[in-house]
């Protein structure tokens, strides 16, 4: 905190109240309600609810369908995170190295940040469309009958490609800014010690970039879990039936379509715990970063 502060009492409270009211009404209350209703079973016709203890949770973890969605989410998250990070790291290293057109490349690689996930999903629907899609045509050329929205694996592929596509810019920006913050004398020393670019990258640059990379892993996991909602919703074309989906999408489907408030709330709570764990993990990393930086 600051050494010198003002000592008014009512003014700071007045300044804090708007934000506190908003988070109280739109954050704490709903979060509490999710926790609360995860222990209740709501009557499907809206006539009251009944306390059922952990029943919603046991129902969840014994449900084959939920476990299938959980497995897909794990697979999806791992793959999107890995691909989005690997591709953008490669691009950032190259963009940091080239002299000509460096600025142009940077712009060309980051503008997609501003494209909304569902808009990207809609473009994806076109590219992967069964009748008109250019990627479908390419698969047909290879002799494969690609069917978006019909085949589970095919829909999953489109989801992963589109999700990676929109996530590359953020990673690229962070990797590039991480690379550019490596001090000049370190780079020069590394250059003299180790003229091989490839080895120099793994032995000098990458370890220095590790804090950025760890931080981005958490960001990308969070992104894959939550922010891909728009991509998934557009690519399954509003018809999740036999298509793959993520845990967050299932919360939505069960809560709004299936009207299973208790089950959906239990899923919300499971996700809350997941995010909590991720955040704690991130803060421990951050702490270490502060200590050794």
């Amino acid at each position: 905190m600051k050494r010198s502060q003002f000592s008014h009492i009512s003014l700071p409270i007045l300044l804090l109240v708007p934000q506190l009211i908003i988070i109280g009404v739109f954050f704490y209350w709903p979060a509490w309600r999710a926790l609360h209703s995860s222990f209740y079973l709501e009557d499907p016709f809206g006539f009251g609810s009944q306390f059922v203890g952990m029943a919603n949770y046991t129902r969840l973890f014994t449900s084959a369908e939920y476990m299938k969605v959980a497995r897909f989410t794990l697979f999806f998250t791992a793959l999107v995170t890995f691909l989005a990070l690997a591709i953008s790291l490669l691009l950032a290293v190259k963009a940091d190295k080239v002299i000509r057109g460096a600025k142009t490349y940077r712009t060309l690689l980051m503008w997609v940040y501003a494209v909304a996930p569902p808009v990207a999903g809609l473009v994806g629907v076109m590219l992967f469309d069964q009748n008109i899609g250019i990627i479908t045509e390419f698969f047909a050329f290879l002799g494969y009958d690609y069917r978006l929205g019909v085949s589970y694996a095919d829909t999953a592929l489109a989801m992963i490609v589109v999700s990676v596509w929109i996530q590359i810019p953020v990673n690229f920006i962070f990797f590039l800014s991480g690379l550019q913050s490596i001090p000049r004398h370190v780079r020069e020393a590394a250059m003299i010690d180790n003229p091989s670019g490839f080895r120099r990258f793994w032995e000098v640059t990458f370890p220095l970039l590790a804090p950025t990379a760890f931080f981005l892993v958490v960001i990308n996991i969070t992104y894959s879990l939550f922010d891909t909602f728009g991509v998934i919703d557009t690519l399954v074309k509003n018809n999740p039936a036999s298509n793959p989906m993520t845990l967050v999408y299932k919360v939505f489907v069960d809560g709004f379509r299936g009207n299973d408030i208790g089950g959906s709330s239990a899923q919300s709570v499971v996700l809350m715990v997941l995010v909590l764990a991720l955040t704690i993990f991130q803060f421990r990393l951050l702490e270490r970063r502060i200590h050794y930086a």
Partner: protein, 304 residues
């Protein structure tokens, strides 16, 4: 693409020693090849959306997507912006465009005002309550809206805020990102400024308005861009909160398009859909490109 560049990063000035050797030439070509491939990967999908927006639906249905332009670009954009009916029923693209701006700007301004005054209270006042407030606000970072979507919807419905701009914007403000960002920035502002202001007899309100706000201009611009893009691109929340078409944003409208596409029996209006998709991405993309350095600064700083 090879625009001569006045900008030299640290790495580039350290490079000449290596460039003398012949073998390096090849590796430079490879570097550019990789970057061009990456740039094309980002560009081509949107380019194809643009070419699709220039063809008649029948043509696309028959020939598939193509890299060449057709003659209907203006017609399709005109239909996407001004024609009523079609896949969205009663509203035009311009109405959705306006709603998107209201959401984007409303969210960004609301976020900046709320979080700046809250951060000011937390950093600049000696108050026990401030620590509690900080943690209460801070905790919201832990749970994204998507996780608590069903109860949030019920709360809004309970207050009767569905199908209002308030219901659309205010619940999105319930997170700590902006407050954090400004807190970090205020902590880096030298203490001497407050002391000087005090000696001059300036109170906390005057100090905030006359010194701190002008000092934060770049930060405000940076966070505005991030928040505008975030607000503009909201999808799940608007989908739940707005069922009246007059309140649809462009991104929300995408859902209608998909639905129409899935249910419709006739040929979907591909050209018009893609025109609308382009219109939906244009404003945020333009802002990010035009104010690139602020945007990058805002992004990198806000995540620290």
């Amino acid at each position: 693409m090879a625009v001569a560049d006045s900008y030299l990063s640290v790495s580039q000035t350290a490079e000449p020693a290596r460039r003398k050797r012949r073998g390096v030439r090849l590796s430079t070509i490879a570097d550019h090849a990789i970057l061009i491939a990456g740039a094309l990967f980002m560009l081509v999908p949107v380019y194809l959306a643009l070419t699709t927006a220039s063809h008649e639906a029948v043509h696309i249905q028959r020939e598939g997507l193509s890299f060449g332009f057709g003659d209907d670009l203006v017609k399709n954009f005109d239909a996407a912006l001004f024609a009523k009916g079609g896949f969205t029923g009663a509203i035009t693209g311009t109405t959705m465009l306006m709603n998107s701006f209201i959401l984007g700007v409303g969210f960004a301004v609301g976020k900046i005002v709320l979080s700046m005054i809250a951060a000011y209270a937390i950093v600049y006042f000696r108050l026990r309550f401030a620590t509690f407030a900080f943690w209460a606000i801070f905790t919201t970072i832990l749970l994204p809206l998507e996780v608590r979507i069903v109860p949030s919807y019920e709360v809004i419905q309970g207050i009767g805020l569905t199908n209002t701009y308030t219901g659309l914007i205010v619940p999105l403000l319930a997170s700590a990102t902006g407050t954090f960002f400004f807190r970090q920035f205020f902590l880096s502002v030298p203490d001497e400024l407050v002391e000087a202001a005090r000696i001059d007899g300036a109170g906390p309100v005057k100090f905030f308005i006359d010194i701190l706000v002008p000092l934060s201009r770049t930060m405000i611009a940076a966070i505005f861009i991030i928040m505008f893009v975030y607000g503009w691109n909201q999808y799940l929340w608007p989908t739940l909160i707005t069922t009246e078409e007059g309140l649809f944003t462009l991104v929300r409208g995408i859902r209608q398009i998909i639905q129409a596409m899935a249910e419709g029996s006739q040929i979907p209006e591909y050209g018009r859909m893609m025109a609308l998709a382009i219109i939906a991405m244009l404003p945020p993309v333009a802002i990010v490109i035009l104010f690139q350095s602020w945007f990058v600064k805002g992004l990198v700083e806000s995540e620290k």
